[in-house]
């Protein structure tokens, strides 16, 4: 996928641990870890909203788009 999660970078900038973020946002550390490693398929606006609120950032700081030449518009499982 061409969308890259930059959560670890933002966390490092804020000097925050993943479990602290998980506690503040109110989602499990497993889910957050999956998000960090790009294992999730989708993120709810509400979750993104909470993460941005806690990290005081914009969605653009967490998500990044990188153009890829050979990528289909709809990825199959």
């Amino acid at each position: 996928m061409a969308i890259i999660i930059r959560l670890d970078r933002v966390l490092a900038d804020r000097k925050m641990q993943l479990n602290e973020l998980a506690d503040s946002v109110g989602i499990s550390i497993v889910n957050l870890s999956n998000l960090k490693t790009g294992k999730v398929k989708a993120i709810r606006f509400s979750t993104l909203n909470e993460i941005c609120k806690v990290l005081k950032c914009t969605p653009g700081d967490i998500l990044e788009y990188e153009y890829m030449e050979n990528e289909s518009s709809q990825e199959e499982d």
Partner: protein, 197 residues
């Protein structure tokens, strides 16, 4: 929107699962006994006297009409083969029931674990559908075959054995296959939901 809870159904599923577990072992025991009986009658034809103490024979293939065959008319007929066949048919039927019960056990286990829309459940429902469809054909065949054998063994006149597939069971099997497709889609949606945070 209120999130529907499975807790209430989980308790019910636990109870039903317990009953089915007991039923599974009972059917397994009966199947084993039936195999032993089929083998036993084949090996020791005289053992039939224990089953038919009064030497009479009665059959009711459709559960509506019962034929009573008196001792005098079967005195010179060897019915051990018939009993052997009967027990083999019963064993086959019980094996099919066992298979369905096993699938039900698997489904209920997933429901108790609060995972009703699992891929395994869709598969279990599909297997149950196939066995029910097979049963709608096999069971009437077995019955007709059995009755045919009995009619010939006792030389009963003016009796025709008619074979028809069990339409109700066939429709039930097709509905189960449809339900399996629905559960398969449900499992896909569940997976999408689980991978969304």
């Amino acid at each position: 929107m209120k999130v529907p809870s499975l807790v209430k159904y989980s308790k019910l599923s636990k109870s039903i699962s317990g009953i089915i577990n007991v039923l599974f072992w009972v059917v397994l025991g009966l199947a084993a006994a039936s195999i032993l009986a089929a083998i036993g009658i084949g090996a020791f034809p005289k053992a039939i006297d224990l089953i038919t103490a009064d030497n009479s024979f009665s059959i009711s293939p459709d559960n509506i009409i019962r034929f009573e065959i008196t001792a005098s008319s079967i005195s010179d007929t060897d019915i051990s083969n018939l009993y052997s066949l009967l027990f083999i048919s019963i064993t086959l039927l019980l094996i099919m029931i066992l298979f369905v019960l096993q699938q039900l056990k698997n489904i209920l286990k997933n429901v108790v674990d609060a995972k009703p829309f699992a891929k395994e459940n869709a598969k279990s429902i599909m297997y149950t559908g196939y066995i029910v469809i097979a049963g709608s054909v096999i069971v009437p065949v077995m019955k007709a075959f059995m009755v045919n054998k009995i009619v010939h063994a006792f030389d009963i006149s003016n009796v025709n054995v008619v074979y028809t597939i069990n339409t109700e069971i066939l429709i039930l099997g097709i509905l189960l296959l449809l339900l399996s497709a629905i559960f398969n889609y449900g499992a896909y949606l569940q997976q999408e939901y689980d991978t969304t945070i």
